[in-house]
Amino acid sequence: MPAFTANRGYPYSVPTDPVDVPGALQALAEAIDTDVCALQAGVTGRPVARFRGTGTFPSASPTHPVNTPPAPYSDRIPFDTTDFNTANVTLGSAEPGQRLIFPEDPGFYFALATVYVPLLTAAATTLFMGLQIRRGDFTNPTSLVTAPRLGGCSHNTPVETHDRNVRVMSLGIGVFMNGTTDAFSVEWRADTSPDVSEYVIGERTITILKMTQS
């Protein structure tokens, strides 16, 4: 009966085993081979995913306060394209009230969101533009959870021709996601005077890097 190494469980002969040098070497070699192959398969680089929203998206231009939207999903922007995904992140439905991005494995994540904001075509003055990442509940997308706001950035000057007609707003956060309910909710809003029915934004992305295994 062979014995096994302490860490990896490789078999080796003990003095009481029948003498079978080829058989013992084969068993050891195969055990090492299987183990090293599995180890190599696990070395894939840092898990990373990027999702993109393509085409324009008409965002409502409400006057509600920044951190108390009338509904938790009222400013959530949709994503429809997966550029790459080695991080086991699920892109939720792009339908209103959904639009969540769900890391299925627990861990500490760094997320970077960008939104292309073009000129406001309506005859109004932009007073405020805000980009936020919030924590949504993937199992209950229309519900707020305890600490919904993860980070935000705002611009209080309008996009103009000096911006070459577009401004890229970007926001990064580092946060733990639990792998069971926590999901990223990317939200964008504008306040204008007078109110306009919508502010059409352009392409948007969220890039997600997984920094820990739990």
Partner: protein, 186 residues
């Protein structure tokens, strides 16, 4: 006399006494330790030191004054970087390397007649020339400011704080804010 490969695997020579069980055990143990070290290194590479601290309660910021944001909740910390009971305004790096550092803060609106600027910076140790972001404040809306920076920690004990300033002419609160760091390279 047995020999060793460059990775330390022991093998017998023809002149060594034949003792197959001892020799295969020696070899298997050497490979076992080496592979286990690779597993440990790989796991460590995927589990980077990371931490996030945050707060939501208002912190009053006097006008035209540099103030360090304070934090109340340690949301995640796998490397003992946060110690809010001792210093509630910082993350302290517990290993050297390159870190992705992020800070963000929400300045509440107060309707001050003067709008002027909002300022946020990541201050490392007592260093000068920190990464800074400035914004024109909003009079009737909150102003949210975000900073992301790669910082090379050369000494264990280096720390980072989120410094804010506002120039609205009167005191202004900051509400939700957070500071996070995650190691991206040794």
């Amino acid at each position: 006399m047995p020999q060793n490969t460059p990775r330390g695997y022991t093998y017998p020579l023809y002149t060594d006494p034949a003792n197959f069980p001892a020799q295969i055990q020696d070899f298997a143990t050497d490979v076992d330790l080496d592979v286990q070290a690779q597993v440990t290194a790989t796991t460590g590479g995927l589990n980077r030191p990371s931490a996030r601290v945050s707060a939501t309660a208002n912190q009053s910021i006097a006008a035209n004054t540099f103030v360090f944001a304070t934090f109340a909740t340690e949301e995640y910390d796998n490397a003992a970087m946060g110690n809010l009971g001792i210093n509630n305004d910082r993350l302290t790096f517990t290993s050297t390397g390159i870190y992705l550092v992020h800070g963000e803060v929400n300045f509440t609106s107060n309707g001050n007649a003067t709008v002027n600027g909002r300022w946020g910076s990541l201050v490392f140790n007592l260093g000068i020339n920190p990464p800074i972001n400035t914004l024109r404040g909003a009079q009737a809306m909150d102003t949210e400011l975000s900073l992301t920076y790669l910082y090379q920690v050369t000494s264990v004990g280096d720390y980072v704080r989120l410094q804010v300033r506002q120039e609205s002419g009167a005191a202004l609160n900051i509400s939700a804010r957070s500071l996070s760091a995650t190691k991206v390279a040794n």
